[in-house]
């Protein structure tokens, strides 16, 4: 049957695409909290950009588009929270450089930023999954 043969082709090609996409994780290449924050933030943005490219021609079925839209909205909200956490850490670092007694505030801001990176990491994976197959 044509359908069964093509289902097998589908599965094989989807696996190739998944392995190609899963190989790169910018967060794992970072060392400092700020580097991890940029890696997570940039990965979220790259994912949302790719979803936007998929949505732009309006050729995917509406249910697939709706799922992609929902994932991109969640990712954008998380990215915005991450940017706020980074800005707080930057402010705390500037205050610490001017007044060493604010070390506690800087530590708290960096812990908050690190916590955001931990929350963002699985969302980046979700984004990649959504783009790979929208299954």
């Amino acid at each position: 049957m044509v359908s069964r043969a093509f289902a097998q082709v589908w599965i094989a090609l989807a696996l190739v695409a998944i392995s190609a996409c899963a190989a790169f994780n910018p967060i794992s290449r970072a060392e400092t909290v700020e580097q991890k924050a940029l890696a997570a933030y940039g990965s979220l943005v790259i994912g949302v950009e790719q979803i936007a490219e998929l949505l732009r021609p309006d050729t995917l079925p509406d249910d697939v588009q709706s799922r992609l839209i929902a994932v991109s909205e969640r990712s954008a909200a998380l990215a915005t929270a991450g940017l706020a956490a980074y800005n707080q850490a930057q402010t705390a670092r500037a205050q610490f450089e001017a007044d060493a007694s604010t070390q506690g505030r800087l530590n708290a801001a960096l812990i908050n930023l690190d916590s955001w990176v931990t929350r963002a990491d699985p969302v980046v994976d979700d984004l990649k999954s959504a783009i790979r197959g929208a299954q």
Partner: protein, 112 residues
């Protein structure tokens, strides 16, 4: 066009052709699904390439012992704003195609 996309395009052409046993309604459905798969795989590959490039940028930053500057974040903030504009347009388009909910005005309660 990469090898996978080329192969999928060839398959889509093959099953669309009645001489090769295609052309049935079921085969047409396969063509549609394959076309969507091509689009999604292309998206996945572009994402992989973009993430690979970005991972190399982060790796170089870590190797040099540099922290990112606020400008690095601003660059992505601008890109996110542009992408979400496209997403918002798509959302409005998809919503406009959704069936309207039943209106009470069209089904007034019947007087007994």
């Amino acid at each position: 066009m990469d090898a996978i996309t080329l192969a999928l395009t060839a398959l889509a052409t093959l099953i669309r052709n009645p001489i090769t046993g295609g052309g049935s309604i079921r085969a047409e459905e396969n063509v549609r699904l394959l076309q969507h798969l091509i689009q999604l795989i292309q998206g996945g590959r572009k994402t992989a390439e973009a993430l690979k490039e970005f991972a190399e940028r982060i790796e170089a930053m870590a190797a040099a012992g540099h922290n990112p500057s606020p400008r690095d974040f601003t660059e992505f903030e601008d890109r996110l704003t542009a992408a979400m504009t496209v997403v918002a347009e798509a959302k409005a388009r998809v919503r406009s195609r959704e069936p309207a909910p039943p209106s009470d005005d069209l089904n007034p309660p019947m007087d007994q």
